[in-house]
């Protein structure tokens, strides 16, 4: 008998916990999506509550689906496959459960804070700073558990799935920390340390790579593990998987700027993002083909095994989304697609198809095994498959139609050279039927997920849970070293050295980020300064914070691209130098409503007042929710000194002691807005309501560059008085 044989147990309890959480949060996330989808053709569906508006629930939906549904699904798959691929129990049961409960606590805190309007407004990174810290801590716990398990493994070589898990662990940590650097201004408020263009670049470096390293790499790992398991075939080409891994890892990180094409981001960064996005097709399709070809000779299994059907659609959706992504990154295509529902269609091909179907696939595979029984009903699983597929079609196709329709309408000029559709709302009303069809698609998808939940529940009831699986394997030390493992000239060497693998992976992902971001930091001329651009006044700061709280950025961009179709509609295109005091940037990524960068001075104050009370008063047919609470809620000014102080720390040049006079300046500007409202026949508006601050902010937007610079002073002449803007008699200090 070989004395080096060790007996140990795989932990199934943690896998089951994550599996149940995946299902529960999946249903929550999908339902939140359906609710906000319906609000787009039925605005009253927020029940006139501030906690349920589109602006506040949209981040709840995205966070629930990405971090709660896919996050738990990722942990479920990793905790199952890692133990078996390493032939070892998880490094620490305590860390496993800290990972589980910590992650659920983070999700619950997100579900509470986002409807309350506590948000940083940065997409997929909306959670405020205390939760950001908690995410970092739990992620470290997961990483220690991951690397600890790898180090105590009994299988010498790390299978390709584990490389993807390693890449996920290190890259998500890097992305989360760099993008979440923010200055607290109270327990639930912070300002990004970056401003304007820099903030946009860092955010989309993060946002793009959150898709890459949270939604893609861990799920590719799951594909490489569960697809061969279900097909009972080895992966098609192990060599291809190596190329897939390194090329994907290296290229993905560079492509972030494709989210910012034709914006005020410097041209070189945009071009870099576009080229690397196109190159990304190669590794993505390499991975997709590797997955699909694993089924060669086993396609007949699709008839018997429902999980394989889901897997095949998931991998195909991955292929479609990763071809479409690079196409959308071509600047001319992007000029049409950006800010429209085309992007929504694209991300849902990935979310519903790739992440959703792959998660369902793994759940159908795991439950019978965790409970040592057979699936309760293959028929129900097939129903789920077709409902889900139909739901996806009903979602994605109307959104393509909607996106292209609106994109073309925005750009349409008459023969005489005027805008064919000068009223933005006209282009929105065209899309309402598409929004209704989309909601039908979402309903189908959720119905399918409900069938799965019932099916898996009945499966669990029909079997007996297997909490641990006892197995035997020889210890790592007892396994002889192959000559090739001693020399660092083969991939075999890398695969047997997890820390080397980790270091290489980190270097691969760090290079792209550094090349893009460092020039932004160090080279001043990247962001030409504009002398007339000044910091926001105290009232505007608070108004901007209300704009952030209400999630206005979810539907309104603040970035006019340099196209005639945009400058005709909105005004002068946006300049990088206009955003130097924007902590965080609020460029947005979707125009459900019009761009607001030049909204300042376009309408009287009273128009904004009435519009926020009921958008349909000023814009009949508008799908924007009402914001009546802004007219009644008192503006909270006690935190103003803390907010001014935090903004100064991140670089806004408020002079020392400005906090002492800020309140007085705020009140002066409030009175001015109230006077302006009287001109518009609104005579009873109290000065201390939130709406006053929001109006002040909106009226400031995009007006700084319209201020005429003072003529150069003659030698010996007295210094000119500080420029006054139309917006305010503010004593806001000049920028240094």
């Amino acid at each position: 008998m070989n004395t080096n044989i060790e007996t140990f147990k795989y932990d199934n309890r943690i896998v089951r916990a994550f599996a149940i959480a995946t299902i529960v949060w999946g249903l929550v996330g999908f339902s939140a999506g359906l609710l906000i989808a319906c609000q787009l053709f039925w605005p009253e569906l927020n029940l006139n509550l501030q906690f349920t508006t589109f602006g506040r629930l949209r981040p709840l939906h995205t966070n629930a689906v990405i971090f709660a549904f896919v996050g738990n699904g990722m942990f479920m798959g990793i905790y199952y496959s890692l133990q078996r691929l390493c032939k070892a129990r998880m490094f620490s049961d305590k860390l496993s459960w800290l990972n589980f409960w910590g992650w659920q606590a983070i999700i619950i805190s997100a579900a509470v804070t986002l409807p309350l309007g506590l948000t940083s407004s940065k997409e997929y990174a909306e959670l405020e700073w205390p939760i950001d810290i908690a995410i970092a801590v739990i992620w470290v716990a997961f990483s220690i558990n991951l690397f600890g398990t790898i180090l105590k493994r009994r299988e010498k070589h790390l299978y390709v799935a584990i490389w993807f898990y390693i890449a996920t662990a290190v890259t998500v940590a890097m992305l989360h920390i760099v993008n979440s650097l923010e200055m607290p201004a109270g327990l639930f408020k912070s300002y990004s340390i970056y401003a304007g263009v820099q903030d946009a670049l860092v955010q989309w470096w993060y946002g793009h790579n959150a898709v890459a390293f949270f939604l893609t790499t861990p799920y590719l790992g799951l594909m490489y593990y569960f697809l061969p398991k279900a097909a009972e075939r080895p992966v098609f080409s192990y060599r291809l998987s190596i190329i897939h891994f390194w090329a994907l890892l290296f290229i993905y990180i560079w492509a972030g700027p494709h989210h910012l094409l034709y914006t005020a981001l410097p041209d070189w960064a945009q071009s870099l993002g576009m080229v690397f996005s196109l190159m990304l097709i190669a590794p993505s399709w390499g991975g997709m083909l590797n997955g699909l070809l694993t089924l060669r000779g086993a396609w007949n299994k699709l008839r018997e095994e429902p999980m394989l059907k889901f897997m095949v659609v998931a991998v195909t959706a991955y292929g479609m989304a990763t071809l479409e992504g690079p196409m959308l990154a071509i600047k001319s295509v992007n000029s049409l697609s950006h800010y429209t529902d085309w992007t929504i269609a694209h991300v849902h091909t990935g979310a519903l198809g790739w992440n959703g179907f792959l998660t369902f696939s793994v759940l159908y595979w795991l439950f019978p095994r965790l409970y040592n029984t057979r699936l309760y009903s293959v028929k129900l699983a097939n129903w789920h498959f077709w409902l889900g597929l139909l739901g996806m079609m009903f979602y994605v196709i109307p959104m393509y139609w909607s996106g292209i329709t609106q994109g073309l309408m925005w750009k349409q000029f008459t023969n005489e050279g005027f805008m064919q559709y000068p009223n933005f709302l006209e282009t929105v009303l065209q899309l309402i039927p598409m929004y209704k069809l989309r909601a039908i698609g979402g309903t189908f998808y959720i119905l399918g997920a409900c069938l799965m939940t019932y099916n898996l529940y009945k499966t669990a009831k029909s079997g007996v849970f297997v909490p641990e699986v006892e197995v035997q394997a020889p210890s790592l030390k007892s396994q002889p070293e192959h000559p090739e493992e001693k020399h660092p000239w083969g991939h075999r060497w890398i695969e047997s050295k997890p820390m080397v693998m980790t270091a290489f992976a980190l270097v691969a992902v760090a290079i792209g980020g550094l090349v893009e971001i460092i020039p932004m930091w160090i080279i001043k001329e990247n962001i030409p300064t504009i002398a007339s651009v000044k910091p926001y006044s105290p009232l505007e700061v608070l108004g901007r914070d209300i704009y952030i709280r209400e999630g206005c950025v979810g539907c309104h961009s603040q970035m006019i691209r340099p196209f005639r179709s945009e400058t005709e509609r909105y005004g002068e295109y946006s300049k990088a130098g206009e955003f130097v005091f924007d902590h965080p940037f609020l460029w947005g990524s979707k125009r459900t409503g019009p761009d607001l960068h030049r909204i300042g001075g376009k309408y009287p104050d009273a128009w904004h007042f009435n519009h926020m009370d009921d958008p349909r008063l000023t814009s009949p047919g508008s799908i924007m929710p009402r914001y009546p609470w802004l007219l009644t809620q008192k503006l909270e000014t006690s935190s103003l000194p803390a907010r001014i102080g935090a903004l100064r720390k991140v670089g806004v040049p408020y002079p020392a002691g400005f906090e002492a006079t800020a309140q007085k300046e705020l009140e002066t500007q409030q009175k001015k807005v109230v006077e302006n409202l009287k001109v518009g026949a609104i005579t009873n508006a109290p000065a201390d309501r939130e709406i006053i601050a929001l109006v002040a902010y909106l009226q400031r937007l995009g007006t700084d560059i319209k201020v005429k610079p003072a003529a150069p002073a003659a030698p010996g002449a007295p210094p000119p008085p500080p420029p006054k803007t139309a917006r305010t008699d503010s004593t806001t200090p000049a920028r240094n």
Binding site: K229, W268, T373, V469, H491, P562, A576
Partner: protein, 63 residues
């Protein structure tokens, strides 16, 4: 118009060149390592998920 909107920095062209060179190096490096790999090892690694000592994961066949 676009030229006026977007700014450039001196010698930034080098970033594109560096990027392509780096990618080429990584890609050919990975290709080289892959081609050197013995078929027997690649076969062993590709079937690793099928050999995890866990008999419960064979599952109970559907009816």
């Amino acid at each position: 118009m676009i030229k006026n909107a977007l700014t450039d920095i001196g010698g930034i062209g080098i970033y594109g060149v560096i990027s392509i060179c780096l990618f080429f190096a990584v890609f050919t490096g990975a290709l080289f390592l892959t081609l050197r790999m013995k078929k027997s090892f690649a076969d062993k690694m590709s079937s690793l998920p099928l050999d995890d000592g866990d008999n419960t994961d064979k599952g109970v066949p559907h009816e």
